[in-house]
Amino acid sequence: MAMQGKAVRVTTYFNEMFQDGEVRIPYSRLEGWTKRMPDALRHMKQAEAEALFRRIGITFAVYGEGGDPDRLIPFDMFPRVFTAAEWARLERGIKQRARALNAFLVDVYGRGEIVRAGRIPAHLVYRNAAFEKSVVGFVPPKGVYSHIVGIDLVRTGADEFFVLEDNCRTPSGVSYMLENREIMMRMFPDLFRENRIEPVDNYPLLLRRTLASVAPAKCKGDPTIVILTPGHFNSAYYEHSFLADLMGVELVEGQDLFVEGEYVWMRTTEGPKRVDVIYRRIDDAYIDPLCFRPDSMLGVPGLMDVYRSGGVNICSCPGAGVADDKAVYTFVPEMIRFYLGEEPILNNVPTWQCAKEDDRKYVLENLKDLVVKEVHGSGGYGMLVGPKSTRDQIERFHARISEDPGNYIAQPTLALSTTPTFVDEGIAPRHVDLRPYCLVGERVELVPGGLTRVALTEGSLVVNSSQGGGVKDTWVLAE
C-alpha cells in the first residue's frame, strides 16, 4: 500500500496509524476498510461527499481572497481516531484550561489578583488591545466570560500533546465537525457498525443548554436565545445559520435587534420579542456603536448598557479576547496553577516573546528553525514557518521583528503528527491538528470529538483552511 511506503520515509513524525510497521489499535479496523475500497469506488464516494456538501450549502469563503464564495473546504474521508483513554486525558486537560481561562477573565476584569501577585505582567493585560475597559467591574452571569472555548492542539507523539493556541471569542468550524460526521455516517454506515464511535451530534443541544444556563438574572422562565451574525456576506454565515437551525433559535443581524427600556428586543412580524441571551458571532468592536466603533452598522446601539445593567447576556462576553492573545498564552499554565491550584495537564508549546531581549536575540539567530507568529494575527496569515521558508522570506521577517518585536512570538517547529489521508496517488500521511470545542456555562462540557484539520499539501505544516487545508471526521472510540 502506498501509505506504508510514505510512512517509512517520513520517520521523524509521529504517524497516528502506523508505529514500527504495526497498525496502532485505534486504527485497527480501518486497514480492512481501505483494502475493501478500490480507487474507483473511492473516487465515487469522494464525488458523492462533495455533492452532499455542495447541496447542503456548506461552503467557506476565504477572507479577503475574493474568488468563488461558494468554495468548499476539501473533505478527507479518512477519519482520525482517538482511543477512549487518549481522549479522557485530553478532555481533562481541555476542561482544566477552559476553567482557568474563565477564572483569569473574571479576575482581570475584577481586582486583577494575578497581576497584583506578579504572576503575569500588568502591561500584557491592561495595555492589551483586546482588554475592554468598559466591562471592568462587571461579573457576567455565572462568572463565565468565554462560553465556547476552542483549543487548538497538536500531537507530537503517542502521549505528547501541545496546546497551540486558545480561542476564547467565537471559535468557528464546529459545523464542520457536525457535518463531517453526518456525511461519514451516510456514506459509510458499516464503519459505524464495526467501530464503536462516540456521537457528537448532541453538540447543538449542549450549546443551547449552556447558553440557557447563563441567562441574566432578570430573565424569568425559558430564556430566548439568538445567534447574532454580521450577515450573509460573512464567510462563516453558513455555520451561523446551521447552528441556529439545529438549536432552534433565531439567526439575527444587528438591525433585527433594538434596545428599549431595560431590555433588548427583536423585531418580529408580531411585534417586539424580548431577547435574553445573544450568542454573537461578530467582533467586540462592532457590537455597539454607542460603546465601540461609532461607524459600525453591524451591531445594536445601546446593547452594552443593557448588558452591563443585567438585561441581557452576550456570549462570549466583550473583552474575552484578552485571554486568548498570543502573548498572554504563555501564561496559561501559570493561570492553571494560580486559580485552580493544579498542574497543567496539557502543555504549552515553548514560546519565545520577541519583546524580551534575550528571547528576541535567540529568535533572530534561529529563524530558520522556528515558527514566528504575529501576536494578534490569525488564520495562518503573517506567519513564518522557518524550515519551509526561503532565505528572502526569513530576512523580511528578521526586519519586521526588529522593527516591532512586541508584535511577534516564536515557537519551535513542531513535529506535527500525521494521519493517513486520501491523495491523488492513493493514501499518504499528512499533518493534522485538532480543535475541540469546550462549552462553559453552569457546567463545563465537551463533546467527544472536534475538528481535525489536515494540511493536504505534502510536507506542509499549515492546516488553516484559508491556506489550503482540509478537514476530517474525528472519532473517539467508546471504551
Binding site: 431595560e262 461609532p294 448598557d305
Partner: protein, 266 residues
C-alpha cells in the same frame, strides 16, 4: 461650596425619527471633593433603561425614546457640595487599572510637537512636577479661543493651530502625558464660570504614583478646586462624552445646549 447645575440639551430633527437610544454619563459620583445632594436627569418622552456604575466609577444610564418624535430635551438638574482637594481625586471608587489609560486614541495621537513635550516631561524626575509642567506648556501652546476647533479636532491639530478650547487643552495634555508613559485621561464636568469659560467644562487627569489621579485644567491654568464638579472620565472626549446617542431614521439632527452653574449662598 454648594453648586447647582441646570443643563438642557435639545435634539431637533428636520424629519421625525422612528426611535432613539442614548447612553448617558451625566450623573456625578461622590468623592472627597464633592458630595451629591440631589441630581436628576430627565429625557422628554423617554423610557429609563438600565443604569449602573462602571469600572471607572462613573454613573451610566441608558434611555430610549419610542418614535416618531421630532425633538427631545435632556434636562439635568442637580446640587453638589464641593471642596478643594488640590485637584487630587480621593475617595472615588474605581477599579480600572491606570495602565489602561496609556493607549493613544485617534483624538490623542501625538505628533512631533507633542512628542517633544513628552520628552521634556520625561526629563523631570517627579511625576507630579512633570504633570504640572505639561499643564503649563499646553496652556501656553494653545491659546484659549472659542470657535476655531470642533469636537473632532485632534490634539495634534489644536497644537499646530495654537488655538482651542478646554477639550483641546485636555487632549494635548493627555497625548503628551501618555507619550511620556504617564497614564492620563479626559474628564468631563461642570465649572462655576469665570468671565470667559463655558460652564460645561473638561480637563485632564494624570495618574501620579502615591497620590492617584490628579486633575489639570490648562484652560484655567490650575488644578480643579471647589468650583468644579467632576462627572465622567474616558480615554478622550469621545470616550467620556456625556451623551452618546443613535436615532433610527434619516432626519437631520440639530443640537442646542444651555448650561448654568451657580453657587448657593450659605
Amino acid at each position: 461650596m454648594i453648586l447647582t447645575v441646570e443643563h438642557v440639551t435639545r435634539y431637533s430633527y428636520d424629519r421625525p425619527v422612528r426611535g432613539l437610544v442614548q447612553s448617558h454619563r451625566m450623573t456625578p459620583a461622590s468623592h472627597d471633593g464633592q458630595r451629591v445632594i440631589g441630581w436628576q436627569v430627565e429625557v422628554s418622552d423617554g423610557l429609563a433603561g438600565g443604569s449602573f456604575r462602571d469600572g471607572a466609577g462613573d454613573h451610566v444610564a441608558s434611555w430610549s425614546v419610542i418614535g416618531p418624535v421630532s425633538h427631545i430635551d435632556v434636562t439635568v438638574r442637580g446640587e453638589v457640595e464641593t471642596r478643594d482637594t488640590g485637584g487630587i481625586l480621593r475617595g472615588h471608587r474605581e477599579l480600572v487599572s491606570p495602565q489602561c489609560y496609556l493607549q493613544a486614541t485617534a483624538l490623542t495621537h501625538p505628533d512631533d510637537a507633542l512628542l517633544a513635550l513628552a520628552e521634556e516631561a520625561r526629563a523631570v524626575p517627579e511625576v507630579l512636577d512633570a504633570a504640572h509642567l505639561l499643564c503649563e506648556r499646553v496652556a501656553k501652546a494653545i491659546l484659549w479661543t472659542p470657535g476655531v476647533t470642533q469636537s473632532q479636532t485632534t490634539a495634534a491639530e489644536a497644537m499646530s493651530q495654537a488655538q482651542g478650547v478646554c477639550q483641546d487643552h485636555a487632549h494635548a495634555i493627555i497625548a503628551a502625558a501618555r507619550a511620556a508613559e504617564m497614564p492620563a485621561r479626559y474628564v468631563s464636568g461642570y465649572m462655576l464660570a469665570g468671565e470667559r469659560q463655558d460652564a460645561a467644562h473638561a480637563w485632564a487627569e494624570i495618574h501620579v504614583p502615591g497620590l492617584g489621579w490628579v486633575g489639570f485644567d490648562a484652560a484655567n491654568g490650575c488644578c480643579p478646586d471647589e468650583r468644579y464638579i467632576r462627572i465622567a472620565s474616558g480615554l478622550d472626549a469621545q470616550d467620556a462624552a456625556p451623551i452618546r446617542g443613535w436615532a433610527r431614521g434619516d432626519g437631520k439632527e440639530r443640537l442646542e445646549v444651555a448650561v448654568a452653574v451657580q453657587t448657593v449662598e450659605q
